[in-house]
């Protein structure tokens, strides 16, 4: 498992840079992760990220876009504005969660 340094500390990541240890994440790290993919975090971004973090604990997996919209109450349209092009992956990346699994 690769280790990388973000925001001045070492964190475990997978081959694509997604954090692999839930508790290594915090708000400062999220800001750094967001910068790396060109996103400046606003309150709206945080609402999505907080939902992802909480839902992951409850469900044991990264929520899908549909779940963030239906259960988290953030319209999919907004998610595409907040996290352009690939919102599911970008949200998971910033929230320090595994890449959402593509269902086979």
């Amino acid at each position: 498992m690769p280790v990388t340094t973000i925001a001045g500390r070492e964190v475990h990541v997978d081959d694509e840079g997604f954090l692999t240890v839930y508790d290594e994440w915090d708000d400062d790290l999220a800001k750094q992760l967001a910068v790396q993919i060109g996103i400046d975090l606003t309150a709206e971004h945080w609402k999505a990220i907080r939902f992802l973090r909480a839902d992951y604990v409850a469900q044991g997996e990264t929520p899908t876009l549909r779940r963030v919209s239906v259960v988290g109450g953030i319209p999919t349209k907004d998610l595409f504005v907040l996290f352009p092009k690939k919102p599911a992956k970008k949200m998971a990346y910033i929230a320090g969660l595994p890449k959402p699994r593509g269902c086979v």
């Binding site: 876009l65 259960v71 092009k85 690939k86 992956k89 593509g102 269902c103 086979v104």
Partner: protein, 414 residues
């Protein structure tokens, strides 16, 4: 008398009921199966219908003969499950109590969930699906009439039943238009919410290369928001025009699951992925497509999971731990056109890999590589489904995935 109540007499429900009938003492256990329809459809056959393959009686049969003696088949719509009272209410008002409940009502295409799909005036005019019998038959007519233009094959969102079927449809469409001599007048486009042709890296590369070889354009990461006239429009405002759209609508579990408070955002029942026991109720299991397990929504996953379930269930009702563990195993033949096919074999942890799939007597079949044998394997499977799988006869395929014959680090020739 104890009662096992099975909701849905599709692939998973029928197999589970028939196999448990042989295992459970008839003087102690009653088995009831509820379904709304008196016909059983061989859903893998839908793929071939638009191209003129299969007569109706090859893929539709009366439901009753597929249900074993000693299992009571009840026809009716399901209104709700009252899990705390252990009873199911049918649309007629009839109440069915249970000791254990199996939810096996699958998923269904929901074109109503995408604005403009069902209500934009183009449904069954220039927009078709092939995941319903009626849709597949209607699409056959539309394809016959199609002489030029852009045909778009499209998936609304995952998960869907048989996730390779839209790819197979694209391969077969390429073959079909070639045979008609009009392939040069038809533009084929494959539109997916995924980032590649398929979800799993090795298979995605191979299947993506097969789309390229056939000059089928691919539009990835496309999450459709709405359909306007004859165009798909994504949440990020990309627009894809079509002359003929073959779409796979959002797949959702049954509405009664939602009404009963048993489902997630797609009306799928959250279960333990190894035992298929509901996370909320200790007397409810969900089998087949109806659950939220992260494997293919496909008959083969239903089959392998039912293998594990029937053994586990006998232990569970005796108060013993369920020692069997479903590994997410599924396999499927992927029709690729020109009389060939591929075979995929995988589970929760191992993606589809190349190699050989050993099968005594008939195999081996080549994995993730086109061959004529795989095509015939796919066609032969229809007989196996009606005559071996549904009656619950043993099939010499291990429930758990095996690495035998698979190449983990192989580079596939592309």
């Amino acid at each position: 008398m104890k009662r096992l109540l099975v909701l849905g007499a599709g692939t998973a429900g029928t197999m589970a009921a028939n196999r448990l009938r042989r295992r459970l003492d008839r003087s102690e256990w009653e088995i009831l199966v509820v379904d709304h329809s008196d016909r059983h459809y061989y859903q893998p056959g839908y793929l071939f219908v638009p191209f003129g393959g299969y007569a109706p009686d090859e893929i539709v049969k009366p439901r009753a003969p597929s249900i074993a003696d000693g299992v009571r088949l009840v026809y009716g719509e399901i209104d709700a499950v009252h899990a705390d009272e252990r009873e199911v209410i049918l649309g007629s008002g009839r109440r069915l109590r249970y000791d254990y409940l199996v939810i096996a009502t699958g998923v269904e295409p929901r074109p109503d969930q995408t604005p403009g799909l069902l209500d934009g005036g183009q449904w069954r005019q220039s927009i078709f699906d092939f995941y319903t019998y009626d849709g597949a038959v209607a699409l056959a007519g539309a394809l016959r009439r199609f002489t030029r233009g852009r045909l778009v094959v499209h998936i609304v969102d995952m998960p869907i039943k048989c996730p390779v079927a839209p790819l197979e449809f694209s391969f077969l469409a390429d073959d079909y238009f070639c045979r008609r001599g009009i392939r040069d007048r038809v533009e084929l486009v494959y539109v997916t919410p995924l980032s590649g042709a398929f979800t799993q890296p090795v298979a995605s590369r191979r299947l993506g290369a097969m789309l390229d070889e056939r000059t089928i354009a691919v539009e990835t990461d496309f999450m459709v928001e709405r359909v306007e006239d004859r165009a798909l429009i994504s949440y990020d405002e990309r627009k894809i025009d079509f002359d003929l759209l073959v779409t796979v609508p959002l797949n959702m579990g049954a509405e009664y699951v939602a009404r009963s408070g048993l489902g997630n955002e797609l009306n799928l029942v959250p279960v333990d992925r190894h035992t298929l026991l509901s996370k909320a109720y200790p007397d409810i299991f969900a089998l087949g497509d109806a659950s939220d397990i992260p494997t293919s929504k496909a008959g083969s996953a239903a089959h392998f999971s039912v293998d594990v379930f029937v053994d586990n269930f006998q232990r569970y009702i005796r108060g013993e731990p369920m020692t069997g563990s479903f590994d997410g195993h599924a396999n499927c033949f992927v029709e690729s056109g020109r009389g060939k096919g591929l075979l995929l074999d995988f589970n929760y942890d191992t993606e589809p890999l190349p190699g050989r799939y050993p099968l005594p007597g008939v195999g081996p079949f080549s994995l993730l590589k086109e061959s004529t044998a795989n095509h015939w394997g796919k066609l032969a499977f229809r007989w196996t489904y009606w005559n071996v799988l549904l009656p619950g006869r043993p099939l010499p395929l291990p429930a758990h995935m095996s690495m035998t014959g698979k190449h983990r680090d192989a580079q596939i020739e592309e």
